[in-house]
């Protein structure tokens, strides 16, 4: 009995380690990072010409502040839809290359986030603990927020 248990344990352990190594190789070969690529910072100081009236550059580079962010505007990055579990994303064109992006939580006691962006701006959604969310609900809303970033990679406020 002890021998059978030992053999079973080691067979399953070796199988698990082998499978883990295969998955690691897949991650390396696909080179898919879980974080959406952040904008490359330009040496030029951000100009305000492309920033809508309601949003101003804070002078802080987004790439220096967050690594768990998913691009949700103008396009949806890989993994972003899952990170957005618990929120409804709405994009409305206001004309003149300006858009209003709204993140509406599926529970009523959490704040709706609205951004007015130009087509050159980007919006990133940070979800710190979506491993505990299921496919239709977010259990921890307090760690979810969106950050608007201009074309130069600076955070807008």
């Amino acid at each position: 009995m002890a021998t059978f248990k030992t053999i079973l344990f080691w067979v399953l352990t070796i199988g698990t380690v082998a499978f883990g190594l295969v998955r690691m190789k897949e991650v390396f070969s696909s080179n898919v990072a879980p974080v959406a690529p952040l904008p490359i910072a330009s040496a030029v100081v951000a100009t305000t010409s492309s920033i809508p009236e309601s949003m101003q550059s804070t002078g802080t580079l987004f790439s220096q502040t967050s690594r768990r962010a998913y691009l949700i505007f103008p396009t949806l990055a890989t993994g972003a839809s899952q990170a957005l579990d618990g929120f409804t994303l709405t994009t409305v064109s206001l004309g003149n290359n300006t858009y209003r992006v709204t993140l509406t939580p599926k529970v009523s006691n959490y704040k709706t986030q609205t951004f007015v962006l130009t087509g050159d701006d980007k919006l990133y959604f940070t979800e710190n603990s979506y491993g505990d969310d299921n496919t239709s609900q977010d259990y921890v809303y307090g760690d979810d927020y969106a950050t608007a970033v201009n074309a130069q990679g600076y955070i807008l406020k």
Partner: protein
């Protein structure tokens, strides 16, 4: 009845169920590491390394889970699981405070300690 009692001892039931939980989470981490990288401490950079550490964590969870389930070097795996759960609890508290998920993990941590000190 006596045979059943000898099989379903406290240690076996605790080890079996805790082992099942560890194996389940380990499989999830290996199959969908992108869902778990958010729990990796921020000093682990670049993101690729975070993904690899999730995969390694998943493998360790499965091996420890099997060990608990099969009662094979159970004390050693209970020690490793206790340390991993403690790390997870501290990390979760730092990320999102004392949530229901943290409370659940504290219960699992207690189970692993029971196995360790039994």
């Amino acid at each position: 009845m006596q045979t059943l009692r000898s099989i379903f001892t406290t240690k076996n039931v605790l080890g079996g169920f805790l082992g099942f939980v560890m194996v389940w989470f380990g499989i999830n981490e290996i199959l969908s590491p992108q869902e778990w990288v958010t729990f990796v401490p921020s000093f682990v950079n670049p993101p690729m390394l975070a993904t690899l550490s999730v995969l390694a964590h998943g493998v360790l969870l499965i091996v420890c889970g099997l060990s608990l389930f099969l009662n094979y070097y159970r004390k050693i795996s209970a020690t490793i699981v206790s340390l991993m759960l403690l790390e997870i609890i501290v990390n979760l508290i730092l990320i999102s405070g004392l949530t229901d998920i943290v409370v659940r993990d504290i219960g699992l941590f207690g189970s692993s300690l029971a196995l360790l000190f039994n």
